[in-house]
Amino acid sequence: MTDKAEGSLLYLDNVSVSFDGFRAINRLSLVLEPGEMRAIIGPNGAGKTTMMDIITGKTRPDAGDVLFDGSVDLTRLDEAAIANLGIGRKFQKPTVFESHSVEDNIALALKGRRGAFAALFHRRSAIEQDRIDALLATIRLSDKRDLLAARLSHGQKQWLEIGMLLAQEPRLLLIDEPAAGMTDAETAETASLLKEIAKTQSVVVVEHDMTFVRALGVKVTVLHEGSVLAEGSLDAVSANPKVIEVYLGR
């Protein structure tokens, strides 16, 4: 069974999870190639966030395989271990460290040793400072670096969280509804930022906004009631009668 996972970056096979008897994820299978960017769409409650919870170790699946890099069993690891393997995650609701400055938020996320004693004696190097400066420029928050993260607008928090994700230098980024609460201009900028990121890293992005998904121009997976309903280009899945039924039939 694991042979099929070979060569893939992320491999989910027949994954199920129930909450109090309700099947939030139902025999879900999904394969992501290294370097691929994938958009996940689906109505509210389809299980998109729960899928990310499973991949990042927050929720344990009741059944099924979740493999990273073709062989690492993610169901046996905790959040910190999975993060250190190179899987970064942006939450649906932007989650930044509100009482830290924008710069410190990036500094904390920066790839490096994570132990308590390493942190106690840590001194920020010039290389790290350069990296922080570059990231702040990428997410266009250089002039806000000393501001407490709590003071940022919703859209800016989303960007800061993406910046924190990049600071971790993960091999796989899981991004949950990045465009939520953004203006049209911010949404367009976010799409181009993600396309830029996808040149060097693998990305899974969940989004409702069809204009945004169209702008990404990547393979789309449609989730419905915890399993895959359709997969393919956005045009192909949009034309799929089952998808039309799910989106328009209710």
Partner: protein, 336 residues
């Protein structure tokens, strides 16, 4: 617990700054830090008991009076070595440290947080209170350990010794501040605040949250133990009432009143609340506990950052907007 003169207060004051290190900076509300304070105090008390030697009422060269009274024939194993100062002082650090480490390791690993953790810290100190009350535990029962004669060969009541003990307490308080503010300003301190703000986010970045909590928890317990060890020779007694959960809760109220998440806040709170206590117990003793409870509720609802936060608001309203969290760190540094 009695707070009469300033020198005996300062070790305890040091330990409440530590309650805030875990609560204000890491979001762990300990209602049982008095336990670590008392354990350090008992370790010191055991050393002082062994120093009495033949000067006790029963003049037994080895056994403390209460053991002779209980008809014990030999010293229990856990009393061995306490005649040596270096060993006793090591235990002052090790006993609270190891107990805190084990307790923290079990709780943080099983992700016990919030109210549940606060409740089991209460249970810990309450269990110790009951245990130390028992005569057969070998710690002097409800009388505790007292009638100390000398410390490191110096008479414990002599003005010179008292002055040195007072100086040592002040030094410890200062040292505690230096250590605490170094921790708070380090990257580790920033991770602690991150855990307080968004615990799961911190984990998803790759930090082992439970290790960080364990570090600061154990550090604060060790420092509370040292504070207890300095307190005991000055008041001349250690008994199970130091484990009283009410004492730990009172320390938390000091932190809340002074301002959590700052290092100077707890000291201000301790002075303010004790001032109120002295006044109330003189005028309306039966009302004091209700007043204290009301104060806690009012502060929690209307002054989440306590007196320090109120002061900060006044200052920032006058000057240009400053960085809030760094501002409090800086104040703490100045106090050290």
């Amino acid at each position: 617990m009695s707070f009469t003169c300033p020198p005996t207060n300062s070790p305890f004051a040091a330990s409440i700054s530590l309650v805030d290190l875990v609560w204000g900076y890491c979001g762990i509300l300990s209602l049982g830090h008095g336990a670590f304070f008392a354990l350090g105090g008992y370790a010191m008390g055991m050393y002082l008991m062994r120093q009495i030697g033949t000067r006790g009422v029963y003049a037994d060269p080895v056994l403390p009076d209460f053991m002779v009274f209980l008809n014990w024939k030999e010293l229990p194993w856990f009393w061995q070595g306490f005649d040596m100062a270096w060993y006793a002082f090591l235990m002052v650090v090790l006993v609270p440290g190891v107990i805190a480490f084990l307790f923290g390791w079990l709780s943080f690993r099983s992700r016990v947080t919030g109210v549940y953790l606060s409740i089991i810290t209460q249970a810990l100190t309450y269990a110790l209170l009951l245990a130390f009350f028992r005569n057969d535990m070998g710690f002097g029962g409800n009388n505790g350990l007292t009638d100390f004669k000398d410390i490191l060969g110096f008479p414990i009541q002599a003005p010179g010794t008292r002055a040195v003990l007072f100086a040592a307490s002040a030094l410890m308080l200062a040292l505690g501040f230096v250590v605490a503010s170094a921790v708070v300003r380090s990257k580790l301190g920033k991770v602690l605040v991150a855990i307080r703000d968004a615990e799961s986010r911190t984990g998803f970045i790759g930090y082992r949250v439970e290790h960080y909590k364990l570090f600061v928890w154990t550090l604060s317990a060790v420092m509370a133990g040292i504070a207890g060890a300095l307190y005991v020779p000055q008041v001349g007694i250690i008994n199970p009432s130091e484990f009283d959960p009410a004492a730990s809760i009172e320390a938390v109220i000091w932190v809340a009143v002074g301002g959590r998440g700052t290092l100077i806040g707890p000291l201000i709170g301790a002075v303010a609340v004790n001032f109120g206590k002295t006044w109330f117990t003189g005028v309306l003793p039966e009302v004091w506990l209700y007043a204290l409870g009301t104060l806690f509720v009012v502060v929690t609802l209307f002054l989440p950052r306590g007196i320090v936060g109120l002061w900060g608001r006044v200052v920032t309203r006058r000057a240009a907007p400053a960085k809030e969290v760094d501002g409090s760190g800086r104040q703490a540094g100045e106090a050290a």
